[in-house]
């Protein structure tokens, strides 16, 4: 079973001003790391906040926050949301590639796929995007980002001081992408990721767009559904992943759930176990409010129960996010 926690996804419900400063957030993520969770997802609320008041949760933008968190943790995966409207693909690919090196291979990019007209209006696109346009553009965008992440071979850097060869010119590739929405030459001026490429997380996809996820994503976040519906969806997704020529295990499907702090731990563990054993997901993305103690409840009470039942590993087995998720890449399996 794979386990992630999402900070701030409950933003809308929390009180303004109840958010944590960096030290508080760092403690929360360190706690999740001590618990051995696969990853923490950090939302980026600028667009969603609607601009009608201070973001009571967070004085930080997600990628800058992730860089800082990377220096105060050592094992847990760190995933930030970043929108395809707020950044040019080259800049975004580069930011995440750099984060991945800062964190020694623990970074993921969560590309939310729902268009947000409010956001476009702050990025010189007052007319917004039609859903169809947004989807095609996002797909092209993600392809560019993944292509840029693969612009340097793993053994491209030579550091040959005496011979004067810093890198092997044969092992650097220009992307030369020319598409309907973007034209990007590449390569990135950041070295290859220690886990080959940051992990791509997709969520919020309506049925027809799941095609994008099964082709491109490393992690697909799906909403909670009845056991029957979740089972059908899970087997359908795995079948579609395989139909793209990918190993069915090469993308993890995590179900996003909000655990109610008042439910007894055994009952919580029971429901996670039932969903997992019925083959309706590869694990869970647990929403927690960004408050001190929020992770404790899960990690001190529910997690030991899951471990006792043999559902969750006792400790990290690798060092990169891909290795936590059991995905290929990085050579640190």
């Amino acid at each position: 079973m794979h386990l992630a926690v999402s900070l701030l996804s409950a933003a809308a419900e929390a009180q303004p001003g109840s958010g944590l400063d960096f030290a508080g957030l760092a403690r929360l993520v360190q706690k999740a790391e001590t618990a051995g969770l696969d990853m923490v997802l950090v939302a980026d609320s600028a667009p969603a906040a609607g601009g009608d008041g201070p973001n009571g949760q967070m004085p930080f933008e997600a990628t800058t926050l992730l860089a800082a968190l990377a220096t105060v943790t050592s094992r847990i995966g760190l995933v930030a949301a970043a929108s395809t409207i707020a950044h040019q693909p080259y800049n975004l690919a580069r930011r995440f590639a750099s984060l991945d090196i800062i964190s020694h291979g623990r970074i993921g990019w969560h590309a939310a796929m729902a268009p947000n007209s409010r956001e476009a209006a702050n990025f010189s696109r007052p007319e917004g995007f039609s859903p169809e346009n947004f989807r095609r553009r996002a797909e092209e965008y993600i392809g560019i980002v993944q292509g840029l992440w693969r612009g340097w071979d793993a053994d491209a850097l030579l550091f040959d001081q005496a011979g004067g060869r810093f890198h092997d010119p044969e092992k650097m590739r220009v992307l030369d992408h020319k598409g309907a929405y973007f034209s990007v030459r590449g390569p990135l001026n950041v070295a290859r990721s220690p886990q080959d490429a940051p992990v791509l997380v997709l969520s919020g996809l309506p049925e027809p767009d799941l095609d994008i996820a099964v082709r491109m994503a490393d992690v697909i976040l799906v909403d909670e559904a009845s056991v029957e519906r979740a089972k059908a969806r899970f087997s359908d997704l795995k079948r579609r992943i395989a139909a793209c020529g990918r190993d069915a295990h090469s993308a993890r499907v995590l179900m996003t759930i909000a655990l109610d702090g008042t439910t007894p731990p055994t009952a919580s563990a029971d429901s996670l176990e039932e969903l997992f054993r019925s083959k309706s997901c590869d694990g869970f993305n647990i929403l927690i409010p960004p408050q001190a103690g929020a992770v404790d409840n899960f990690s001190d009470r529910v997690l030991p129960e899951l471990r006792r039942r043999g559902l969750f590993r006792l400790d990290y087995e690798g060092t990169t996010l891909r290795s936590h998720l059991g995905l290929a890449g990085g050579g640190h399996q």
Binding site: A49, I101, F123, G164, F182, V184, G186
Partner: protein, 418 residues
Amino acid sequence: MKLGAFLWATGHHIAAWRHPHAHVTAGIDINHYIQLARTAEAAKFDLLFCEDAAGLREANVGIASQTSRSIGFEPISLLSALAVQTSRIGLVSTASTSYNEPYGLARTFLSLDHLSGGRAGWNLVTSASHIEAANFGATGLRPHADRYERAREFAEVVTGLWRDTPGQASGSGHDGQSFSVRDPLDLPPSPQGAPVMVQAGASDVGRDLAARTADVVFTAAQTFEEAKAFYDDLKGRLAAYGREPDDIKIMPGVAPVVAATEAEAQAKYEELQELIPDDVGVALLSSYLSISDLGRYPIDGPLPELPESEGMKSRQALVIEQSRRDNLSIRQLARHFAGARGHWRIVGTPVQIADELQARFEGGAADGFNVMPSYFPGELDAFAALVVPELQRRGLFRTDYEGHTLREHLGLKRPAWT
């Protein structure tokens, strides 16, 4: 005297990475940067400064592969990591107005400012390279004047957003030539009023934009006269924007090579110079001249006549001026610029270097310097250990931080609206 520690790859000398004491894996080693930041902070530097380019620095992969500059950290993520690993030093990153949107950039720098407790600065550049342009569309590098017009509007929107963060007066939308923005930012106001605005760009329009918006100007000058002329010109432009001369700190780059004796310093410099391959030197020179085929001219002959650049006008002029003044061949010029890219270089003892810095500072040609160590970490360590104490002994440089924010270190007023 204000001091910046300018971080760049394995060092500012183009052949730094080949030096036996350079940290050759700098571009993939975050701990190396944390160490550099702590060294600079312990020496009480005002700020760390990161250059940037959204693309390779060199188009020819054969040349690029002989330098360490094709890979490195993206500076905003780098400085965000350093923000929580340091407590006092300022953190200035370069970012382009040509390939960003003001809402996103204003938000990102404000976030860095919060992570660091008010120590962030943004070095505004307009990006002069074709290589970068090709990563952002098929239309190529836009003309110099267009880039600066976009930069002017960009800076106006960013400062407006910083002013109008929630908790301050409510923001109104912007609907301009290049950008439209509807909402205020969703982050609390800056701990230092607003992140510090830095600018590098020395053409006439570049200077005007600096006079209008910058708190700090980073510049390249070789001689005292050049530095003094730039200083007086820029300070003279401030009144037109209702600003005082002291509202801007001018910090030219300086590339010191320091050792206990002059002979040792000279030997250290020669050792680095020996490591420059000719084709790398000429390619670097070409890029400052915005000419792609300098290699076809005889290397021991003079610089050919060149058309005025649409790239970096100020740097091109500086190179041409130097070649005429000193009657240098292409090879000589290439080797000269490979060390510090047109910035001022001083090779000598701590006393000699302090003398030179003092003369420019007291002579009214600089408010401080952006220090460009030739290789890391050794030359930053040497400057911190040898030159900084000499400057402190003379009462020219602080012995401890007086405040906590970058504005406080630089002696800058908080913005009028705070």
